[in-house]
C-alpha cells in the first residue's frame, strides 16, 4: 500500500503502530500529502450530504404497484390461479363440464322417460299417467 492509499485507508480503518508512524511522518514532510488529506476530508463531507431529499410521490408510486400483488398474495391458491391465469381456469371449468356431461350420457340417464319424468313411476302410476294424458 503506497502512502496515498494508506492515508485514504486511515480514514475508515485503524492503522497499526508502524503504519501510524509512517503516515504521520509523511504528512509532516509532504505538502502534497497534506493537501490530499484536506481534499479527501472535503470530498467525504460533501458525500455525506448526498442522500436525496424525500420524494413526495415515492410511497404512493410504490403502493400503486402493490394492490394487485397484495390482493393476489392474500388469496387462496385456487383463487390466485384464477386471477393469474384466467384462460387456464376457464379451460379447467370447460373440461370439468364436458366430463360431467359425458359421464351422465355414458350411464344413459338422459333418456326421454327421465326427461319427461316417467322413469321412476310404478306400473300403476304409469297407467294413471297414460290415462290422464291420452
Amino acid at each position: 500500500m503506497n502512502i496515498e492509499e494508506l492515508l485514504a485507508y486511515s480514514l475508515d480503518n485503524d492503522l497499526t503502530a508502524t503504519e501510524q508512524v509512517r503516515l504521520e511522518q509523511a504528512l509532516v514532510e509532504s505538502d502534497g500529502l497534506r493537501q490530499l488529506q484536506d481534499e479527501l476530508f472535503a470530498m467525504r463531507s460533501l458525500m455525506q450530504g448526498q442522500l436525496p431529499a424525500k420524494n413526495k410521490s415515492f410511497v404512493q408510486d410504490v403502493l400503486r404497484q402493490l394492490p394487485l400483488e397484495a390482493t393476489i398474495a392474500q388469496l387462496s391458491a385456487g383463487t390466485r390461479v384464477l386471477r393469474l391465469f384466467p384462460s387456464v381456469a376457464a379451460a379447467c371449468v370447460f373440461v370439468i363440464g364436458i366430463s360431467y356431461i359425458g359421464l351422465h350420457l355414458g350411464d344413459a340417464d338422459w333418456i326421454s322417460d327421465q326427461l319427461v319424468g316417467t322413469a321412476y313411476l310404478s306400473a300403476e302410476e304409469a297407467y294413471t299417467y297414460i290415462d290422464t294424458y291420452e
Binding site: 492509499e5 458525500m47 450530504g49 442522500l51 436525496p52 431529499a53 415515492f58 397484495a70
Partner: protein, 182 residues
C-alpha cells in the same frame, strides 16, 4: 414509532399502511443507493420502487438475520448492478464506443454544463465515471453511511477487500472530481 419487526408483522397480516410506513422509513437510503449507482436517471426511481416491490413479494424470505435497512440496500445494489448490465448490453448494441472516448466526451459535456459549480451534481457525475466496484463501496460507506463491516456484509465481500477498495476508490474519485472541476 413501531420497530421494523413490528411493521413486518403488520405487513404480513395484510396491513398496507404498515408497508407504506416501511417504504417511507427506508426511501432515502434505498434511493440514495440506487441514484448513487445509476445517477439521477429515469430508471433510478423505477429501480428504487422495484426494490420495495421485490421485498414485498419475497417477504417470507426475510428471516431477520440482518437489519432490514441492510437487506433492502443489498436488493438495491443487486438491482442497480442488473440495470447497469442491461445498459451496457444496450450501449454495446447501439453505440460501440471505447470507455476512454466516452469519458472524454462526458468530461467535455461537464465543462459546458452551466451547473458545474453544483457540488452535488459534480459528485454524482464523478461517481458515474469510476468503476462499479469502486462506486458500490463509495455509495454504501460515504453516502449511505454504512460502516466498513456493514458494507462488506451488503456486498458479501471480505472486510479487508472492502477497506482497501474504499481507499483506492476515494483516490480515484478525487482524481475524477479534479478533472471535472477544471
Amino acid at each position: 414509532m413501531p420497530s421494523d419487526l413490528e411493521l413486518l408483522a403488520q405487513i404480513k397480516e395484510g396491513k398496507q399502511i404498515a408497508f407504506s410506513a416501511l417504504v417511507s422509513r427506508y426511501e432515502q437510503v434505498v434511493r440514495g443507493t440506487v441514484i448513487g449507482m445509476l445517477g439521477h436517471t429515469t430508471e433510478a426511481d423505477d429501480v428504487a420502487q422495484e426494490v420495495f416491490i421485490r421485498f414485498y413479494k419475497s417477504l417470507d424470505k426475510f428471516r431477520g438475520d440482518s437489519a432490514l435497512g441492510t437487506y433492502l440496500t443489498r436488493i438495491a445494489i443487486n438491482l442497480s448492478l442488473n440495470e447497469l448490465k442491461r445498459r451496457q448490453r444496450q450501449h454495446q448494441r447501439l453505440v460501440p464506443m471505447q470507455k476512454e472516448q466516452k469519458q472524454v466526451i462526458q468530461i467535455a459535456d461537464k465543462a459546458a454544463d452551466p451547473s458545474r459549480n453544483d457540488n452535488k451534481q459534480l459528485i454524482e457525475k464523478a461517481l458515474q465515471l469510476i468503476s462499479e466496484d469502486f462506486r458500490a463501496v463509495v455509495v454504501l460507506r460515504l453516502i449511505d453511511g454504512y460502516s466498513v463491516k456493514e458494507t462488506a456484509a451488503i456486498l458479501q465481500l471480505p472486510q479487508g477487500t472492502v477497506a482497501s477498495r474504499l481507499a483506492r476508490a476515494q483516490l480515484k474519485l478525487r482524481e475524477v472530481i479534479n478533472a471535472l472541476s477544471y
